[in-house]
Amino acid sequence: MKLASLSPLVVVLLLPSSAALGDTFELKPGPLNRVVFENDAPLETITGMTSDVSGTIEIDLAKPAGAKGKVTIPVKSIDTGVAKRNEDLQSDQWFDAAKHPDMTFAIEKVEIPGALEDGKVQTAKVHGQMTIKGRTKPVVAAAKVSFHKVTEKQKAAWIMADAVRVKALFQLRLSDFGIKIPDNLAGVKVADEVEIKASLTALRK
């Protein structure tokens, strides 16, 4: 069989998968993204923050339910405003940044009412797998998702291409990821449950 006769077959085989993936939107570290970690501990509410978010979201705007993607945050980028606490977070007792430098969220599916249209905000549930310290657990995030065609006004706010804006909220337990809260002063200071609030702007690649 000649190569030329194979080509249409190859195209036909590739079409369904590429159509399902849709458009690619990219997350880059910087001001477009903000992830906040809140730990409501007995003595204080500890807040960690990072804008060092990267990843991609593959989404068919007409059928966003099939969106796939991966969001990565380097553990070292999380800033709690207390130098000693930042150091502790990197240690093997906590996130073990030396062995597991990144935490990731892999998007598996999205429960969303309809197609993403320019400027329309929809509430959704984003299902995915969260990996922290080498352990992976399923997570469901409550989210607001919208698509925006780029305008001159948006360019003034660093949005240089069509954008998918996601505001997501979810909770997880540190113990689910093998992080045992020490039975000492730190144990009093830190709660097992962490709430994560992510404001993300992914730009069309």
């Binding site: 001001p31 477009l32 903000r34 906040v36 003595l43 204080e44 807040t47 923050m49 804008s51 800033d79 709690t80 405003g81 207390v82 130098a83 000693k84 606490r85 400027g119 905000v121 509430t123 549930k125 657990k137 399923p138 997570v139 469901v140 995030a141 409550a142 989210a143 607001k144 919208s146 925006h148 006004k153 948006q154 003034a156 706010a157 660093w158 949005i159 954008a163 804006r165 505001k167 909220l169 979810f170 909770q171 997880l172 337990r173 689910d176 002063l185 200071k189 449950e193 709430e195 609030k197 404001s199 702007t201």
Partner: protein, 74 residues
């Protein structure tokens, strides 16, 4: 109570306060620069929302919590 005892008690109290302050400074005091960065970061998110024509409110996730009852870990 002897004068010497009072002085010793005062010294212990001062030393305790100093240690307490040092512990607070090292373990609990949030760097004011962090608070500035955090505030700037929030403001940027609000600016992005406004540019996109979305309701601004960088950390206002209350409606998400209410509307969807933010899922708890299984």
């Amino acid at each position: 109570m002897s004068r010497r005892f009072k002085i010793a008690a005062l010294a212990v109290a001062v030393a305790g306060a100093a240690v307490g302050f040092a512990v607070w400074w090292r373990l609990f005091r949030v760097d004011p620069e962090f608070e500035k960065r955090d505030a700037g970061n929030k403001a940027t998110q609000q600016e992005i929302d406004r540019a996109l024509g979305v309701d601004p409110g960088a950390d206002d996730f209350g409606d998400l919590e209410k509307a969807l009852e933010a899922p708890k870990p299984p």
